[in-house]
């Protein structure tokens, strides 16, 4: 099995005007292809920070991070951008869809930036929207659909480029139970089809559905546990 994420002794410091926050204090972890990993922990422990570093949205202050075998430490901005485009799909807590673009165009973004042909893009986008059940809202704008639907579009956008790794930050935080469950179901489905998923969540109901839970506290990994297959089936 291939190792998708390999982190060694990752530190992250935020330099404020007066204060310095040491958000990650030596995190090491490995994530294999096809895994579904949940990251949990109390508010402010550094979950989102870890995810942004993993998604190359931000660099670590210290430590080594290899993504799909590529050492990311000395990459230039544009190279990081390219790798992100090719290997990572990111789902934000607050959706982050562009209001001036239609659902279709939002989802098409990663492929557009990859420079794919229009026909290829169309096929892939339709397929992704199909997966999340949003094909019928293709020509809508983000502000014309509900929060749950927006999250599903965001997921479609994350998976349209067939990335090695899908990063999900609190996918259910803004949603009610019903919508939250649906999104969770979708993620599990994707994982089953082979996507590697890392998800940040508070919700123990959802974290229990992962293969593995990584618990953070004050920027350190304090516990890691495998979830037994049986427990997952039950949920």
């Amino acid at each position: 099995m291939k190792t998708v994420v390999s982190m060694q002794n990752i530190h992250k410091k935020y330099q404020g005007q007066q204060i310095e926050t040491h958000a990650l204090q030596g995190v090491s972890l490995e994530i294999q292809q096809g895994e579904f990993v949940a990251i949990t922990g109390p508010s402010g422990c550094g979950k989102s920070t870890l995810l942004t570093i993993m998604g190359l949205l931000d660099g670590a202050s210290e430590g080594q991070y290899r993504l799909a075998g590529i050492d990311t430490q000395h990459l230039k901005t544009d190279e990081r951008t390219r790798i992100r485009n090719l290997h990572i799909g990111y789902v934000f807590q607050s959706f982050n869809l562009i209001d001036s673009l239609t659902v279709f165009e939002n989802v098409a973004l990663p492929l557009e930036h990859r420079g794919e042909k229009a026909a290829v893009i169309k096929e892939a986008v339709v397929e992704a929207l199909d997966k999340v059940g949003m094909r019928h809202r293709m020509q809508y704008r983000p502000n014309q659909i509900s929060g749950g639907q927006q999250q599903r579009v965001a997921i479609a956008r994350a998976l349209v480029g067939k990335p090695d790794l899908i990063l999900v930050d609190e996918p259910t935080g803004n949603l009610d139970t019903k919508n939250g469950d649906a999104v969770m179901q979708l993620l599990l489905e994707l994982n089953k089809q082979g996507s590697t998923i890392v998800m940040v969540t508070h919700d123990s109901r959802y974290s229990g559905l992962a293969h593995r839970q990584i618990q953070l506290l004050d920027g350190r990994v304090v516990a890691e546990k495998q979830v037994r297959q049986a427990d997952r089936e039950v949920a």
């Binding site: 989102s48 931000d58 901005t77 990081r80 951008t81 562009i98 165009e105 973004l109 930036h113």
Partner: protein, 828 residues
């Protein structure tokens, strides 16, 4: 691909959907671009367009030796053609020589009068210049002196371009001249002072060497063309010219006092290419204009940039998402570039249209202060420049607008909630741009206001006499010989001239005027004679402005008599004069000027140069509108002959003062004056008001144009600051709302906004003051006529700017505060 196409499409839609962005962009960028393009076109024309009517201009040189009389006045030593001929003899081998002198004149053909420019030139001068001969003989013909050549425009106006001019004559200066030929219109001549070069021209030619037979005239004049066409490119250098000058003084001017007098004046020699001479100060003026216009463009850009940054800050999330989805910054920049392309294209179209219009109205605006006006046009180069400039600005905007969407800020942007604007957005850039803009505004406005102040003074400062309802009436002499004899014998009392004048005065009294003043001209004068004489005591040369006195002159124009008595009249033959305060002070010192009353002054070395000062009158300015900033002191002579404009008066002139509110027309004059004397012709009439209008027209126009520029600058700065302030207030809406919710009163909030702005304003204005002082110093170094820097103006500009800026901060801020900021809280 489709992303790009989408951007372009959105950009097109945005033209209409976001007028808050597209309208200011189109207007400010378009208009300033128009100004820049116009000035660039002018510059391009001045520097590169071939001079019309001049062939192979790189071979043509202008030579001059000039004497400096005072700060305001320098005269040409070569004005006497004899000297030019002498110079030509010395350097004859270098090429062909020509001299041209212009003069405003009247021509008459079959009873019809035409305003013309009379060009007195050396034989063959037009061949030296390269002016085409359209019809008739060449201008170097042996009998050239016997006739005249006319310009194409005059040919059209008078003879309807008829090709047979055999036997046609033109009456000029009381003589009929046969027309020998037709030349192209000559427009490539820079005219100084009051006269003008019009296209209706009459040329007279005389062989250059002939003038060597004349005596040295001991006179000095103003500008003319002293041309040398040197095909070999070899011209006398400054030292050779200087050598010639000194030799000439030594060998040709035998009167030692005259030589001393001339030598006492600082002189300068110059040999320059004809284009340099022709373009002259306009070149500097244009480069200054370029600086001013580019500054305006920069200001406009800074404003727009601020707006753009604000706009794109509002959309930073969108771009962060794009970045996150794998768009490179280069690609984002391209997207923004494309998105803004339609707007910028529209702005450049506005700019081009504006420039085309400006160039069309330019002749009305600039009058004859700019050469080659009719050659200025928008060509493909300007088009290219406009496009390039706009694309460059667009590119710059695209880059700067995205500066805040950096990798570092990415997570912040993405993690912030969708509502409101992220608090961490940096305003540093906006502020810096603002300070820069204020600095430019301050510098530009100081320069502009200084110039406006000077124009204002030139035009509106009290000239020492009232603008009363007075008219200058004139009659043309039709008979040159008679005119000559009139002035030759004028000094005898009861002379024919005096009889003529009193007959004229009698006729004019039939109009029931308030007064008829027996002088040639109004105190506001179109042309002046200045005299210089060596002070008998110190030997130093003094200048004065001779003016004619007439009975009732002082009262009519409210010129105060400060000491002594008014003159009594020309009849008593006494050699009495009035002098003005300046003259009295020059002689007796600032305090004891009154002592000059009753003393004798010597205006030369002859016995008739001695006059007794009867009284001292207030200072007057005979010329308004900045044509001559300071004139020498005035001496009023009672006797026409004594020293006033006397002998070469081209017309018989007299001044009448009409009762208040009563206008005098030519129709009233014709029946009264037409049978005064058969040897008098066309009747002229000009009121003091009219003269004031024409004399000050250019200054007033200048004033308004520059004032307009200052106002534009102020408006740009105000727009910029208010935009920023509005943005600032809008961004602080949340904070303001929370403060209000917790009990802050509205004016407290205003103070909060002001506190923020004050720092920026003081920085901008402080730097601006500094910049304007420095900038102005540079400017005065560049242009001689630039008015002196004055602190009051500069401070005034700063106060105006400060007040405007504070208002621009307070008003939009107040609007946000008034518009229920609590709404923000409910929205969340």
């Amino acid at each position: 691909m489709s992303l790009y196409r989408g951007s372009l499409r959105r950009g097109l839609i945005r033209l209409f959907s976001e007028p808050r962005l597209s309208l200011p962009l189109m207007l400010t960028l378009g208009l300033t671009l128009a100004a820049v393009l116009t000035v660039l076109s002018i510059a391009q024309t001045l520097l590169f367009q071939p001079l019309p009517g001049v062939k192979q201009e790189q071979q043509l040189y202008q030579l001059d030796v000039r004497l400096q009389f005072n700060d305001e006045m320098n005269v040409s030593f070569l004005s006497d053609r004899r000297r030019f001929a002498h110079l030509q003899q010395r350097f004859a081998g270098l090429g062909d020589w020509a001299q041209v002198v212009n003069q405003d004149s009247q021509a008459e053909v079959e009873g019809q009068q035409y305003q013309v420019t009379l060009l007195n030139a050396t034989s063959g001068a037009t061949d030296v210049i390269g002016l085409p001969l359209l019809l008739g003989e060449g201008t170097s013909a042996d009998n050239a002196k016997e006739g005249v050549w006319i310009s194409a425009s005059l040919w059209r106006a008078v003879f309807g371009e008829r090709s047979n001019l055999q036997g046609e004559t033109i009456r000029i200066g009381g003589r009929d001249w046969p027309v020998f030929g037709v030349l192209g219109d000559f427009t490539s001549m820079d005219i100084e002072g009051n006269s003008s070069l019009i296209r209706e021209q009459v040329w007279r030619f005389a062989p250059l060497q002939e003038s060597l037979l004349n005596n040295e005239s001991l006179s000095l004049g103003t500008t003319q063309l002293n041309l040398l066409r040197a095909p070999g490119g070899q011209v006398p250098d400054n030292r050779q010219l200087e050598d010639w000058y000194l030799t000439y003084l030594d060998t040709q001017i035998s009167e030692p006092r005259a030589r001393e007098f001339i030598l006492s004046k600082p002189h300068s020699v110059s040999v320059q290419s004809y284009r340099d001479f022709f373009v002259g100060d306009s070149g500097k003026l244009v480069s200054l204009l370029i600086v001013a216009m580019v500054s305006l463009l920069v200001m406009a850009c800074l404003n727009l940039l601020n707006m753009f940054i604000a706009h794109y800050q509002g959309r930073s999330k969108e771009f962060s998402v794009q970045l996150c989805m794998g768009a490179s910054t280069r690609r984002l920049r391209l997207l923004v570039f494309l998105e803004n392309l339609p707007m910028f294209m529209l702005a450049s179209v506005t700019g081009l249209l504006g420039a085309a219009w400006l160039i069309r109205v330019l002749p009305d605006l600039a009058g004859d202060s700019l050469p080659l006006l009719d050659k200025i046009n928008l060509d493909s180069l300007s088009l290219l420049v406009a496009m390039l400039l706009v694309m460059l600005i667009n590119l710059l905007f695209a880059s700067v607008s995205l500066l805040h969407v950096q990798q570092q800020a990415l997570t912040d942007n993405l993690n912030s909630s969708g509502k409101g604007t992220p608090a961490q957005q940096k305003q540093g850039l906006n502020r810096m741009l603002m300070v820069l803009q204020l600095t430019i505004a301050c510098t530009l406005m100081t320069a502009a206001m200084t110039s406006v102040y000077k124009s204002y003074q030139d035009v509106y400062q009290y000239p020492g006499y009232e603008m009363v309802n007075a008219y200058e009436i004139s009659l043309a002499y039709k008979d040159e010989a008679w005119q000559q004899s009139l002035y030759d014998f004028e000094s005898y009392s009861g002379s024919e001239l005096q009889q003529l004048r009193s007959a004229l005065a009698d006729r004019l009294r039939k109009l029931e005027p308030q007064a008829v003043v027996d002088v040639e001209s109004l105190p506001l004068s179109q042309s002046l004679t200045m005299r210089a004489y060596p002070d008998p005591e110190t030997g130093e040369s003094r200048m004065y402005l001779p003016r004619q006195w007439g009975r009732g002159y002082l009262e009519s124009f409210h010129i105060p008599l400060l000491a002594g008595a008014d003159l009594t009249g020309p009849q008593n033959g006494s050699r009495e004069v009035l002098v003005d305060l300046d003259y009295a002070r020059q002689l007796e010192g600032v305090e004891y000027w009154q002592n000059l009353v009753g003393k004798e002054i010597k205006l030369g070395n002859d016995s008739d140069d001695i006059f007794r000062v009867a009284g001292i009158v207030g200072n007057t300015r005979p010329v308004l509108g900045g044509l001559l900033n300071s004139t020498p002191p005035v001496i009023y002579f009672a006797d026409v002959n004594a020293d006033a404009n006397g002998s070469d008066q081209p017309r018989l002139q007299m001044v009448v003062l009409m009762p208040e509110g009563q206008t005098l027309t030519r129709e009233q004059l014709v029946p009264i004056l037409s049978d005064l004397d058969p040897r008098l012709g066309e009747i002229g009439l000009e009121s003091m008001q009219q003269r004031w209008q024409t004399m000050t027209a250019e200054s007033r126009l200048n004033m308004y144009v520059v004032l307009g520029m200052a106002v534009l600058t102020l408006a740009l700065a105000a727009i910029g600051v208010s935009g920023l302030s509005q943005m600032n207030a809008a961004q602080k809406r949340y904070e303001l709302a929370v403060r209000m919710a917790t009990g802050a009163r509205q004016n407290r909030l205003l103070v909060l906004l002001l506190k923020d702005a004050t720092l920026m304003l003081s920085a901008g204005l402080g730097l601006g003051l500094f910049g304007s002082v420095l900038g102005y110093q540079y400017l005065t170094g560049l242009i001689d006529q630039a008015p002196a820097f004055n602190w009051p103006t500069s401070l005034l500009v700063n106060v105006i700017l400060a007040v405007t800026m504070l208002l621009s901060v307070v008003l939009p801020g107040w609007r946000v505060i008034r518009a229920d900021p609590m709404q923000v809280l409910r929205e969340l």
